[in-house]
Amino acid sequence: MIPAAFEYAKASSVDEAVKLLDKFGEDAKVLAGGHSLIPLMRLRLAQPKALVDINGIKGLDHIEAKGDKLHVGALTRHFAIHSSDVIRDKLPILAEVASEVGDNQVRNMGTIGGVVAHADAAGDYPTIALMLDADIVTNRRTIPAKDFFKDLFTTPLQANEIVTEVVFPVANGPHKYIKFRRRLFDWAIVGAAAQKVDGHWRIGLTNVGPTPVRAKAVEDALGKGAKPEEAAQHASDGLNPAGDLRASPEYKKHLARVLTRRAIEQAQ
């Protein structure tokens, strides 16, 4: 449980962080909240040569509504997202999701940028970002969420590229995120999100494949007037989830259908 030796540098600006990443090269990792990276390092499943700590960068934890967009800085902690009045007003589903991430210790340290960049299939924010067509903004470019989550732990981010903010559309209509898990602090076995945007449902699923999934078939069925229980039957269309210790592929697909229906029914 002792990580391999690594170099450590703390950046005070995005530019400095990029320079440090350039200096350390491919084997460097960005350290934000550290709640995914450090456990992996302790188990020596990750052995980066260097860590570039971006926690000292000021101004990366902003929460701002600008017009019909909500800008959330990459270093914004889950707790801040959960307790932000702006988010509760402009995109309440995000506050709801933040309150369900990990436990208090994780929520006080973990960041939205870290979750997005890590691209774990069980991450909750990626589902919301994908479903709502959010943009992932880095020091170099803006990447639409649909192009960002390419595969398990795989994004288009370059070695010296840092996520700086996530830009969501404002959406404060009926919404619900249901996270099915064994223990309160666990990752989702399956998660389902429902959000009404301009009179149309958006449906997202967590941990039913290597990337978050937008359940377009459900959205379309609902658009054509199907009842939630009918539409939700399409939640598993095209899914091919991997089984794990907690759930078989079949069960995950079943959960996707059940949770989707419940999310739509319970959305408010």
């Binding site: 436990d103 208090n104 994780v106 309160l184 602090f185």
Partner: protein
């Protein structure tokens, strides 16, 4: 957290309610409880259980830990002077 020999109300409550057995997880639970009560001075039982979700205990079955937090919340809300100390402890 203790002030000399005077225990913090959370420590006192863990003692009073038998909120520990082997004691190994106890400092973590006391700090988690301090944070929880700082955020929410009058938590419901469900809120306490949720607030402690990040800490594991293998001895107590959590029953008396939850009781201890309830007791501490009562003591602290009836003696406001102690509240500031929790902030110090919680940070």
């Amino acid at each position: 957290m203790a002030n000399g020999d005077e225990l913090h109300p959370i420590q006192q409550a863990f003692w009073d309610e038998h909120g520990l057995q082997c004691g190994y997880c106890t400092p973590g639970f006391i700090m988690a409880a301090a944070y929880l009560l700082e955020q929410n001075p009058n938590p419901t039982e469900d809120e306490i259980r949720r607030g402690l979700e990040g800490n594991l205990c293998r001895c107590t079955g959590y029953v008396n830990i939850v009781k201890a937090v309830q007791t501490a919340a009562r003591t602290m809300s009836s003696t406001p002077a102690r509240k500031t100390q929790v902030t110090a402890g919680g940070n």
